[in-house]
């Protein structure tokens, strides 16, 4: 059984959804990033989602854009990225998902990228600007190297396309809570439940909801709507930025926040 199957199975057995916190690799610096990830794991993360920083992240809002800029400035490149993932693998066995952009994969080439990702211990890749139609090469390489595919669906995705994407996914379907870019919202879109219901009619792959999820209340709502996973990104990255601005380490506050979010994944 691969790490994702195990993580979702264990969460189900505990009557929970899986909590998936996100951070940008190398933000705010290589060591501080590892502290962030340790805090996530200690706080009870079931799965990790790590972003590869890109100069032009069109699917990201201002918080993650700034995180990418900090990471690039702190020297994040391919070799540092893979060595950081290896470090993470030395202290946890939970699944590690990579969120990246097409140019980053293309820069190394799909084959070299997947080979290195497998060696580092990455379990899945989602390429934000590479729909399944453009991912034929990458898919082949990912399958060859045992890396799970993740694609996005939204409320705008027609049923037949949801089915097509469901068939192309291995690890989980990434359901965005609303159209638009990443970023924490005050209130969750009411359409999440409808989107999840539509998705479940066409695929039995696990569904994880992301974009806009910031609070334990949002996590409860998404879990209640039937998601097997809940992804929290910008809300946590915001805390990292706050700490950086105050010259403090974010680790302690992040661990506390993640444990609060985790507690909210329990089924009612």
């Amino acid at each position: 059984m691969n790490r994702y199957e195990e993580a979702f199975k264990m969460a189900k057995a505990r009557r929970e959804s899986a909590l998936i916190p996100f951070a940008v690799a190398g933000d705010p610096g290589p060591d501080a990033f590892l502290d962030v990830i340790k805090a996530y794991v200690d706080g009870g993360a079931d799965v990790l989602e790590i972003g590869y920083p890109f100069s032009d992240p069109v699917a990201d809002g201002p918080v993650n854009q700034r995180a990418s800029q900090r990471a690039i400035k702190a020297g994040l490149n391919h070799s540092l990225f893979f060595s950081l993932v290896k470090e993470i693998r030395s202290f946890t066995d939970i699944p590690i998902g990579l969120l990246t952009y097409a140019n980053t994969i293309n820069h190394l080439g799909a084959e070299a990228f997947c080979k290195k990702a497998e060696r580092a211990g990455i379990d899945s890749i989602l390429t934000a600007d590479m729909p399944p139609e453009e991912s034929i090469d990458l898919d082949t390489q990912m399958r060859k190297h045992g890396i799970g595919r993740v694609y996005i669906v939204s409320e705008l995705t027609p049923d037949d396309r949801m089915r097509y994407i469901g068939n192309r996914v291995d690890s989980f379907v990434y359901v965005v809570s609303r159209p638009g870019v990443t970023g924490a919202d005050a209130a969750l879109s009411s359409s999440v439940k409808t989107t999840l219901t539509r998705l479940k009619r066409v695929t039995d792959k696990p569904a994880a909801v992301g974009f806009g999820i910031a609070t334990p209340k949002h996590v409860r709502e998404v879990t209640g709507a039937g998601a097997q996973g809940v992804i929290v990104g910008s809300a946590l990255v915001n805390m990292i930025e706050d700490a950086v601005n105050k010259g403090k380490s974010p680790a302690r506050a992040l661990k506390k926040r993640v444990s609060e979010l985790k507690a909210a994944t329990r089924h009612a």
């Binding site: 100069s55 820069h107 453009e134 396309r161």
Partner: protein, 420 residues
């Protein structure tokens, strides 16, 4: 994968089989292009693709587009023989200027903006968004939105807003909102990022009118088709004026819409040399330029804003910021059809530096009484450099894509800085 093909270098035009450079698989020109877009945009891109097919075949809408092009834009634009300039350059080549600068709003951009605004109306969208660099596409889109009664937001880098202040005022007067973009290098690339982000949020009621032949499929094709009227007019006009097809057609290339527009009518005429001129900035030694199709350590195959093409990047695959004296050529990527024309050898690409462009700008002002846009001045600079060496009686067409009134401040600053 990201190794530059050397095939194009010195390849001769005889080897080009597909004369029309049609996409080889949907959305591709050779191996360039594609649909590298966030999933949220995929249904919208499918909608645009489908609607554009019907729009193109709809006689009523096409008649309306034609009526606006002639009575509102002032098409056909004239083809003018720059006799004084030709004489100043040794009198060997006859130089013709395709006067896109005489379009309403001062550049070729209005041709595409009107087409896309009509397409948006055809699809039932109420709001238009666009990116702009020099401000010409922003002004054109704001103009089309005003004409068709649409809401309009224009995304513009704050560096460009400073360089092109009169165009910011113009857009405001036309009722558009100019959204300042403060990320990255704060120029065209960053404005496209922000427009794409807006579109993922607002896709239900909004059409994104890409201003150049770039972005995800179908935009490179749509923009090329709208701009191809430049080439069709020019082909007819040059035959009437010179009695034959030209030896060479020259155009500046930022994203590449004016160039692909004029090239498109001549691609199958293998005797016509097609030359694209990129922004050489301070020259190729550093990264202070926007030259994607002449080999340099910064230009690699990559994916930017939805398309696979040549993209300026650093050694880690992060997109490089660019520099040009002209805001409209200051872009890290290049339209995918140009990448294909480059690699197939059908078109040639070179560059003009800031210095050469401003020199050509001044020469055209003095010799012809025409103030060209700094973008178009790059194409003029090519003619200035090469006309003296051409065979006597050569016929060259330079696409004068826009007028230079917007550039007074940039030119003054450039000349001032050089004095020091």
């Amino acid at each position: 994968m990201n190794k530059r093909s050397t095939k194009a270098k010195g390849a001769n035009t005889k080897s080009v089989k597909s004369s029309r450079a049609k996409p080889s698989k949907p959305g591709y020109f050779g191996r360039f292009g594609g649909t590298f877009a966030p999933e949220t945009l995929m249904p919208a891109l499918a909608e645009v693709r489908e609607a554009y097919g019907r729009f193109r075949d709809d006689e009523r809408w096409q008649a309306e587009y034609g009526r606006l092009l002639s009575t509102y834009c002032g098409r056909a634009t004239p083809l003018y023989e720059a006799v004084n300039l030709g004489e100043r350059l040794g009198g060997r080549a006859r130089i013709f200027l395709k006067r896109e600068d005489l379009n309403h709003t001062g550049a070729h951009k209005i041709t595409n903006a009107l087409g896309q605004a009509l397409l948006a109306r055809f699809m039932g969208k109420e709001r238009l968004i666009a990116e702009t660099g020099a401000g010409q596409h922003g002004v054109a889109t704001a103009t089309a939105a005003a004409l068709l009664g649409m809401e309009c937001d224009i995304f513009m880098g704050t560096v460009d807003m400073q360089r092109q202040l009169p165009n910011v005022y113009r857009m405001n007067l036309l009722g558009a909102r100019v959204v300042p973009v403060d990320s990255g290098g704060r120029t065209l690339k960053d404005a496209v990022n922000e427009a794409m982000r807006d579109w993922t949020r607002t896709v239900r009621n909004t059409h994104y009118a890409f201003g150049s032949a770039l972005g995800p499929h179908p935009f490179p094709t749509i923009v090329r088709d709208f701009q191809s009227v430049i080439g069709r007019e020019c082909r007819e006009q040059i035959r009437a004026a010179a009695g034959r097809l030209p030896d060479e057609v020259v155009a500046c290339v930022g994203g590449g819409s004016n160039a692909i527009g004029i090239f498109s009518a001549f691609i199958k005429d293998k005797g016509v040399r097609l030359t694209g001129v990129e922004a050489g900035g301070f020259g190729l030694r550093g990264s202070q330029h926007a030259v994607r199709l002449t080999p340099s350590p910064y230009s690699r195959l990559g994916i930017l804003h939805g398309a696979y093409s040549y993209v300026l990047q650093d050694k880690d695959g992060q997109i490089a910021d660019t520099h040009s004296v002209s805001a409209g050529l200051d872009y890290s990527g290049v339209g995918p059809e140009h990448a294909h024309l480059f690699e197939s050898g059908r078109a040639n690409y070179t560059y003009a530096t800031d210095e050469e462009a401003v020199g050509a700008f001044r020469l055209l002002c003095e010799a012809e009484g025409i103030i060209p846009a700094l973008e178009s001045s790059h194409a003029v600079a090519y003619a200035v450099k090469h006309a003296p060496k051409m065979a006597a009686g050569s016929v060259v067409v330079v696409n004068l894509s826009g007028r230079g009134d917007k550039d007074m401040d940039s030119v003054a600053k450039f000349l001032e800085a050089r004095k020091k």
